[in-house]
Amino acid sequence: MDLTPLVVSFVTFFGIYLILALSMNLEYGLTGLPNFGKVFFYSVGAYTSAFVVSRLMLALGGASLVPWSAEAAVFREELARSEPWLAIGLFLLCLVLAALVGAALGSLLSSPALRVQDVYLALILLVVAEIARVYVRATEGFIGGPHGLGGIPNPFRFIEGAGPRGLAYAGLVLALAAGAYVLVERITHSPFGRLMKAVRDDELAAQVLGKRTHWVKAQVMAVGSALAAVAGVLYAFFTEFVGTEDFDSQLTFTVLLMVILGGAGNHRGVVAGTLIMTAIDRFTRPSFLALLGLQLPVDINYARHALIGVLLVLLILYRPQGLAPEGRVRTAAREEVRHLGVSS
């Protein structure tokens, strides 16, 4: 019995969803911005990867093929096998580019919307995500339109064996997710983090105190969108395929559920929420039950969705604040520091 594929799948998707959930927590949990367009920024990372890799690899390899054709996908796979550093370099380039594009789009697209109330902001971002998905699907010249684009080579293609290669990639995703956690923790416990909470709790009061709340929201959206785009890059290089079917709004609400389950405003809670949701998805599958030698009288494929629904209802009824409620900011406020300095 080789559990490597299950471990790789679990860790990789946990890492990807954790980055998305942390970015959602930064926006919704701490700043009160309901980003219902989260999947759009995730797709930006995946589309950027598909676009950059498909064009650059064909150009560097001197091939004049249609980037989204089957022949081009095979060409890229073979080129990545023979030139491992090219695949690694392109992966790193995509991470940086996607983060920049995500940040720019996050602040650009949301800045007009930030002047409206939360519910309108949520609707505007939801609509943007849907329009973008439909547009990309209808435009063949970008990532192949409805067919999608394959042949986005895994950066660890040079490692022999699917198992070790998968584990290496899962480790990389987990490391980046840990980095994202450290980043959002530092932001949360900084003076800027206090400002984010002030905007969430009473925006008018923050404005009265001279804080530029629109600017705070735009910055949070930029950071959150950059993180989501990085998650999109990780997804594209893992599946080695990008298609618009994966970027519908259901994913946004799955991520939101992870945040609500764990506890909005608490990053540790979000880690727990993401872990639980990923575990429910992976460990309620017929394959996993087969591993344990179990055979249920009902089709667990349907029961899984019902289980998530029941979990959500129970959560709303008995623990609306989530598994881990929001705690205090761990760093001392400036006033307290000054007070300590005077008294000492």
Partner: protein, 402 residues
């Protein structure tokens, strides 16, 4: 004394069962089907067909005293690339090296790289996207690509005297591929084809159907055929709106292969949709060979067991399950890489419910015979009726039941 006899009997029983258990070798076959998402209506047909095939294989193996058995592990793909990948990863962890499915090209695209890297043989009964026509990979497809269906519909349109067609299609991999194939084939003969795509993930298509009617009026209702390329959920909604539209009620309609699946007809669909399809004489093709004994037996058994007609894709799934089992038996051990090498030869010599399975260089079905179908009233209800046949080898369209 009684206790001793009981213990002895139990011991003997356990020893017998244990010996039989030890002799039996069970190989898992992964089944990737859509139980949720856009293809959810098709999933149960595919599951039932695969189950029936494995039961028949077991009956045969038992009769000849073979110790080999197969166990199906059914996973939902959610009709999406990520769903397909996650499902295959789960199957791989359970030791699965041979998989039948997935149903959609999107799910097949998502799992292809993983299947190649982990040497898992994947036999799709129904994926038709041209973007997956790739040689030397681990994905085989038992159905011909959409280019052939496009040529078949083009031939039928020409026979019916149309020089213009308005193709109303799903804006996804399948819909765009099929629409483009038809456009190219129809325009190659000097005709005109216009494409009108719609987003397949919507809940309602009233606005899109109005736009279809407007475009049809511009082109001329009399001289323009309407070709619908849809799956069941979107297709039924579209036809439901179209039957209330005066322009579209006058139009001559054609449909892609899924429009002739039982899921478009009663009892799986509202009676009025079937009535509308019969009223406009909706025609099209399904990649099904002429009746053969294997198909007839399968359809009869399916009806007896499940009380309904199998969907056309169920024939392909039934064959996929048989081919997966036969390939494993030919190889003599459970090995995805060796099964992949043996598969084309096993397929070449196979005649199943969906016909011959000769494969081309990309691992896709090479020869397609398409039944020409029309929606008609049959015994007080509505059903697709075969009225002709188109063969890809010669490109000839034969009408035998006009």
């Amino acid at each position: 004394m009684r206790l001793r006899i009981l213990a002895l009997t139990l011991g003997l029983l356990l020893a017998t069962v244990g010996a039989a258990w030890a002799q039996t070798t069970t190989y898992p076959i992964g089944v990737l089907i859509p139980l949720t998402g856009g293809g959810a209506a098709e999933g149960p047909f595919l599951r039932d067909a695969a189950t029936m095939a494995v039961e028949e294989i077991h009956a045969l193996l038992e009769r000849v005293g073979s110790p080999v058995r197969f166990r199906l592990i059914i996973e939902d793909t959610g009709t999406s690339p990520e769903g397909g990948l996650v499902a295959l990863e789960s199957l791989a962890a359970a030791g699965v090296q041979i998989v039948i499915g997935p149903w959609s090209s999107g799910a097949a695209s998502g799992l292809r790289a993983f299947a190649n890297a982990n040497q898992i043989l994947v036999i799709s009964p129904s994926s038709t996207s041209p973007a997956l026509a790739i040689p030397d990979d681990f994905l085989y497809r038992l159905v011909t690509p959409d280019t052939l269906q496009g040529r078949a519909v083009a031939a039928l349109l020409e026979r019916d005297g149309f020089e213009q067609v308005l193709i109303f299609h799903r804006g996804d991999s399948y819909g765009a591929g099929m629409a483009q194939a038809l456009k190219e084939a129809f325009e190659a003969a000097g005709n005109r084809a216009e494409l009108l795509a719609y987003d397949p993930d919507q809940g309602d298509y009233a606005a899109e159907v109005n736009e279809l009617a407007r475009r049809l009026r511009q082109l001329g209702v009399e001289q323009t055929a309407v070709m619908l390329v849809a799956f069941q959920p979107d297709g039924l909604n579209i036809l439901g709106h179209a039957r209330l539209n005066p322009t579209l009620r006058q139009a001559r309609w054609y449909g892609s292969k899924d429009a002739f699946s039982p899921t478009f007809f009663p009892p799986h669909a509202p009676l009025e949709i079937g009535a509308f399809m019969a009223q406009v004489q909706m025609k099209g093709f399904f990649p099904t060979p002429p009746a053969n004994p294997v198909r007839a037996t399968f359809e009869q058994k399916y009806r007896e067991r499940y009380g309904q007609e199998p969907s056309p894709w169920a024939l392909y799934m039934y064959d996929a399950a048989w081919l997966a089992a036969l390939t494993t038996l030919v190889v003599g051990e459970y090995d995805g890489a060796r099964a992949r090498d043996a598969f084309p030869e096993v397929a070449r010599l196979f005649l199943g419910a969906s016909g011959h399975k000769l494969l081309d260089g990309n691992g896709d079905a090479a020869v397609g015979v398409y039944d020409a179908m029309v929606a008609r009233e049959v015994d007080g209800t509505y059903a697709p009726v075969t009225f002709g046949q188109w063969e890809s080898g010669t490109g000839t369209l034969q009408i035998f039941n006009p």
